[in-house]
């Protein structure tokens, strides 16, 4: 009985954060196995691929899951295309006609590369998700917008640089980002396939911490606006992986005075070990941990406090295990 209660409360907590919990009764193992079974399959026959991935799955969410994991684990990010698009977008920032002309030429090259080498950038991922879904009668759209990373769209909506998808399952729209789920570029700009489940059917509020669409309706939450996007703490792929929702401070750039107490808090549906929570800064390449206090956990909310001692500009990072999940800047004055 106790364990039943535990499970029920676990799901209630879960549902408050992750949208994927709308499908908590569904085990994605068979869907993921289908994706694994067709690993290495080419893109020369999309209808056949879509059929193979989904024919023995019963529900739309499982079918979509098989398509999603297949795309994430079989398509590689292409740093060359990524850079080229990025440069052209910057160059033609104020000349949309020239950009569109370039876009239409580049599109052909990009599709050829996707088709033959299975390499692409966000648009290609989003296109495949939409297309494969369409082929099995699941409604999906490509959403263009601003992706917030450590180097772009940090404090302003500077550059439309990213595409992701919305998908309609059981008459409700959900958010997914196959590009950022698929992996990352390492220090040598080489693509590393490292599936991150945190961008699959993500809670709109968490999703909006790093994704702002050109069409506001695709935020899927009316209360969100772009100031929240650019002022929120910096989040990372690991934030999504651990399903961390930073609560306070709710802004990235903070100012404080010496020995003033700052309370930090965040929510997670996952079972976070308090011993693995830390606040740190880099001194060169060395990590220095701050001596945080009053660290506690109530339901799924984790809080702690810290007083900065010196007059200084700090870059502080919230860390869970070995992963940085949020960054703040703190300007400490006398």
């Amino acid at each position: 009985m106790k364990s039943v209660f535990f499970f029920i409360s676990f799901f209630i907590i879960n549902s408050s954060i992750a949208q994927v919990s709308d499908f908590k009764d569904i085990d994605f193992e068979s869907a993921d196995n289908m994706a694994e079974l067709y690993k290495g399959n080419g893109l020369d026959n999309l209808p056949l691929l879509a059929y193979n991935l989904t024919y023995n799955l019963d529900t739309d969410v499982e079918k979509f899951r098989a398509i999603y994991t297949w795309v994430c684990n079989n398509i590689d990010g292409d740093p060359k295309q990524d850079n080229e698009v990025f440069e052209k977008r910057e160059a033609y920032k104020n000349d949309s006609v020239a950009f569109l002309k370039w876009n239409n030429e580049f599109k052909k090259i990009a599709f050829e590369k996707l088709f033959k080498q299975k390499k692409t950038m966000c648009t290609g991922y989003a296109y495949l998700i939409k297309e494969l879904s369409f082929l099995v009668d699941i409604e999906s759209e490509i959403v263009d917008g601003y992706g917030r990373t450590t180097t772009t769209n940090v404090d302003n909506l500077d550059l439309t640089n990213h595409s992701w998808n919305v998908v309609k399952l059981n008459n409700k729209w959900y958010l997914v980002d196959a590009t950022w789920s698929s992996g990352y570029f390492d220090d040598y700009n080489v693509f590393v396939n490292d599936y991150n489940d945190g961008y699959f059917l993500t809670d709109p509020i968490l999703f909006a911490k790093s994704h702002y669409p050109l069409e506001k309706k695709w935020l899927l939450n009316e209360s969100l606006d772009n100031t929240m996007f650019t002022t929120s703490p910096m989040v990372y792929g690991e934030t999504y992986k651990h399903n961390i929702m930073p609560i306070s401070p709710n802004e990235m750039h903070l100012s404080s005075t010496r020995h003033a107490e700052i309370e930090f808090s965040f929510k997670s549906s996952q079972n976070i070990d308090l011993n693995k929570v830390s606040l740190m800064q880099y001194m060169g390449i060395k990590e220095k941990r701050f001596k945080i206090y009053d660290l506690k956990k109530e339901d799924n909310l984790i809080t702690f406090k810290y007083k900065f001692k010196y007059k200084k500009d700090y870059d502080v990072h919230l860390k869970i295990e070995d992963d940085i999940v949020a960054t703040y800047t703190v300007k400490v004055t006398e």
Binding site: P47, R89, L100, F111, M121, G147, M234, D313
Partner: protein, 139 residues
């Protein structure tokens, strides 16, 4: 008297079974007669002309073919009303075409126009870099 009544109901039972059986078979027969199947042929093109290599697949199956150099195809099996053909080519908008019932026609000729996908390219793949403010970068 009692026996006779039993006999009657027994016969009635048999009659009922026969009746049901016949009505089922006639219902089936009717289905068959409306299930006319067609040979489906066609040509697929885009704004520049015939499009070779377009996949043509019956939805919900592995059955299909691809267009030849002149953009022509003949579907390998006969199709019936309500079947959905998918036309797909990477970079083009996929199309689904439902086979309509065409009285007396044994052939269906499809003219399919494919259009380039309308997208704007973007590119931002995730990195593992940690944010550093400008002030701290200079230090």
């Amino acid at each position: 008297m009692k026996n006779q009544r039993k006999k009657v109901s027994y016969l009635a039972g048999i009659a009922l079974v026969c009746l049901t059986l016949f009505s089922i078979t006639t219902a089936q027969a009717q289905d068959v007669t409306t299930d006319i199947s067609f040979v489906v042929k066609g040509n697929v093109s885009d704004e520049t002309g015939p499009l070779p290599g377009v996949n043509v697949i019956l939805q919900g199956s592995r059955t299909g073919t691809a267009t030849d150099v002149a953009g022509n195809f003949e579907f390998p099996i006969k199709l019936k009303k309500g079947d959905v053909l998918i036309f797909s080519y990477v970079g083009m908008e996929s199309q689904k075409i439902t086979i309509e019932n065409q009285e007396s026609a044994a052939n269906i000729a499809l003219e399919v126009d494919m259009n380039l996908v309308e997208i704007i390219v973007t590119g931002k793949v995730a990195t593992k870099k940690v944010y550093t403010s400008k002030k701290n970068k200079d230090n």
